[in-house]
């Protein structure tokens, strides 16, 4: 039980996927203009990340290791993730157009999102068991969600402040992310 708690707290707060590991910065900067799109993106990333980590773990355990083709790890993972995203998207469009309306536009963005592949590879490198690595992926997704929702809250508030001309949107967003990362460093060393 303690180990589960450990993994959860470290994945969400300490080595947060954005602030400590620098994974998934492109969608983080791109999609966080408004809180509604940001939360949509957060949920989509969490969902796909958990799903992808589960499948890549199985793939790794039953295909890569027995056949000693670890070097195919990157290509197999990314292939699975890309196709998975496309299939999920088509299914979503048919089953529930409303949910698709909320999450649909983010799915193509996810294929080029470093966080998904990053978390999958990290969970392999850390040699977690199946349950722990899925939990790790889910909590990293939550960490991403937490970071992007706070960030979009701030960006929406400073949208019409008179920021100097050359600092509008992306540079000021980067500086805000910097200060947020500084704040989250408070959690470092939390887990003994």
């Amino acid at each position: 039980m303690k180990e589960v708690l450990l993994v959860m707290v470290s994945a969400i707060f300490i080595n947060n996927v954005i602030f400590a590991r620098f994974l998934g910065i492109c969608p983080y900067m791109g999609v966080s203009k408004r809180i509604s799109t940001a939360s949509g993106m957060g949920m989509a990333v969490t969902f796909v990340m958990t799903f992808a980590t589960a499948i890549t773990f199985i793939l790794n355990k039953f295909v890569l290791i027995p056949f000693h083709i670890e070097y195919l790890q990157t290509i197999m993972f990314i292939l699975v993730i890309a196709s998975l995203v496309q299939i999920v998207e088509i299914a979503l469009k048919k089953i529930s157009p409303a949910l698709y309306q909320a999450l649909g536009i983010f799915l193509p963005l996810i294929t080029t999102n470093c966080a998904i592949l990053g978390v999958a590879i990290l969970s392999i490198q850390n040699e977690y068991s199946f349950f722990i690595s899925v939990l790790f992926a889910f909590c990293s997704g939550l960490g991403f969600c937490l970071a992007i929702i706070i960030f979009s809250g701030i960006r929406e508030r400073i949208e019409d402040a008179d920021i100097p001309e050359c600092f509008k949107n992306i540079p000021i967003a980067l500086i805000t992310a910097g200060i947020l990362a500084m704040a989250f460093m408070g959690f470092s060393g939390l887990v003994k």
Binding site: I75, F167, I172, I179, M182, G189
Partner: protein, 505 residues
């Protein structure tokens, strides 16, 4: 009568005498007791530091106003308040250039870049303090002792609690901490002065009572629960109340109007959140002082706390036919073939590379030269790898083993220890660590490592000087030094019970 030029604007025409200048200068007035206490305890250097911070804050704001062709608003007191608050957060012996850098970050980056007064999301003084704390960990965590004439330094009560544990921290009486006769940054030591100053703010209603009360309440509750559960391990809430930056943060930092929620409900959640986070970081976190981080994190939640939003619509997506399956498959086919070939070519080099890294490490820690051939890898019962260096007549010249200790400040430290046949340590080499750069990573440099040379397992107390061992620890990195000593000791134990016990037996 016709010629009088009438001014027309929208009602109301009489306005209260309240203004931004009045608010800000009242806050400055409320900070005076803390400033006086600081100067009383830490001498004129404190006054100079406060002066430097305020002047540079106002100066930077003036430059920004001129640069962005805005009308000059740097004397409206907000820059002065930020300057003083920043100064009260710093140790009194901080070099001046760091203080000026801090006020640059506070005024230019955190406040003006976000759009100036009223638009900044993070509390400028606080963000600057955290910036300095992370950038200069050494300078910011050494606090001069009050009344000390030659600037002797010691850790703040919280620092002692974090590194030495409760026993040492209890030596400071609560009353001393309350009036401020204890190590710490300028403003946070004397709780009495802070409370005195805040009375005027409460009376003139410039700060709401909700945030300070909920903030301090949540912190005391959190620390209280843990104190109740394990009185030996965790300090009492009273200790947490008087020591550290809790009061300075709750009364002056967390109640900054611009960066806190407007609605009462939002302020309550903000206060509770700050209190909880402070408790977590103080009891479990890496940094001794949690208030600054807690408030910064809660500042990020403020837009959400009083957010309002409407939902935006999505976009369509399209797909086509069968041909794609075939093409995808053959691409997969070709890439697999390509990768197989590369793996074949690079398989040996990779193995050799890993070998070379190990040999490289070995060569560094053994004082004598040896060729690759002399290395022989032996295994003990539970499969632990040992590197034995053989002489020409394959008698033993040295043994090396990889051990690790997870008591490091940032987590696990793995090292490679080299020992002579008769159990004396030659040297060790740190393979991986997550210690804080600049502090903990000093366990890698020679000065620290030389102490272990020639030491044997029994006959020496394998502890740091603080726990009356022989290793004198790195200043402000006691935990890392203790972890390194522990790892070397473990290496010696493993080697001794493999080789020496067998020989003895």
């Amino acid at each position: 009568m016709e010629n009088t030029k009438l001014i027309v604007s929208y009602p109301p025409y009489t306005k209260s005498k309240d203004s931004i200048e009045k608010v800000m200068y009242t806050v400055v007035f409320a900070l005076l007791p803390a400033v006086v206490a600081a100067v009383y305890f830490f001498g004129l250097r404190a006054l100079a530091l406060i002066f430097v911070c305020s002047i540079s804050a106002i100066g930077f704001e003036y430059l920004i106003n001129v640069f962005r062709k805005q009308e000059i608003a740097c004397f409206d007191g907000s820059a002065l308040v930020t300057g003083i608050l920043l100064a009260l957060n710093l140790p009194s012996n901080l070099p001046y250039w760091m203080a000026v850098l801090g006020s640059f970050v506070a005024i230019v980056v955190v406040k003006q870049l976000f759009g100036g007064l009223g638009f900044n999301v993070f509390n400028p003084a606080l963000a600057a303090r955290v910036f300095l704390l992370i950038s200069f960990p050494v300078a910011m965590t050494i606090w001069p002792i009050p009344f000390s004439v030659d600037m002797q330094t010691a850790a703040s009560p919280l620092g002692i609690l974090k590194t030495e544990g409760l026993k040492a921290a209890n030596s400071i009486t609560l009353w001393q901490a309350f009036i401020g006769n204890v190590g710490g940054s300028l403003g946070e030591t004397s709780a009495l002065a802070l409370l005195l100053g805040s009375v005027i703010l409460f009376w003139k209603k410039y700060i709401t009572w909700i945030i300070p009360v909920s903030f301090v309440g949540a912190t005391l509750a959190f620390t209280g629960i843990f104190h109740y559960m394990e009185p030996l391990k965790y300090a009492s809430p009273a200790f947490h109340f008087t020591c550290g930056g809790l009061l300075l943060g709750a009364l002056f930092m967390a109640t900054d109007m611009v960066t806190t929620p407007v609605s009462k409900r939002g302020q309550l959640i903000f206060g509770l959140g700050c209190g909880l986070l402070t408790g977590i970081i103080r009891l479990f976190g890496g940094y001794p002082e949690g208030v600054s981080f807690a408030i910064l994190i809660m500042n990020a939640f403020v837009p959400l706390l009083d957010k309002w939003d409407n939902y935006s619509n999505g976009k369509k997506w399209r797909l086509t036919k069968m041909r794609s399956v075939i093409v995808l498959t053959c691409i997969g086919f070709f890439s697999a073939f390509l990768l197989y070939m590369t793996d074949n070519i690079t398989k040996e080099p990779i193995k050799k590379a890993i070998e070379r890294v190990k040999v490289e490490a070995l060569r560094q820690i053994f004082p004598f030269e040896f060729s690759d051939k002399d290395i022989n890898i032996a295994f003990d019962k539970n499969g632990k790898e040992f590197f034995e260096i053989k002489n020409k007549d394959n008698s033993l010249r040295g043994i090396a083993v990889e051990t690790s200790s997870d008591k490091g400040y940032g987590g696990e430290i793995t090292i490679l220890v080299a020992v002579s046949p008769d159990g004396k340590v030659f040297n060790y080499n740190v393979l991986s660590h997550k210690e804080t750069p600049g502090l903990g990573n000093k366990i890698e440099n020679e000065a620290f490592k030389k102490q272990f040379n020639g030491k044997t397992l029994d006959g020496f107390n394998w502890k740091v000087k603080k726990d009356d061992g022989f290793v004198d620890e790195l200043t402000a990195a006691t935990i890392s030094s203790r972890a390194a000593t522990d790892a070397v000791k473990k290496g010696l134990e493993v080697i001794s019970n493999k080789y020496f016990v067998e020989n003895k037996k």
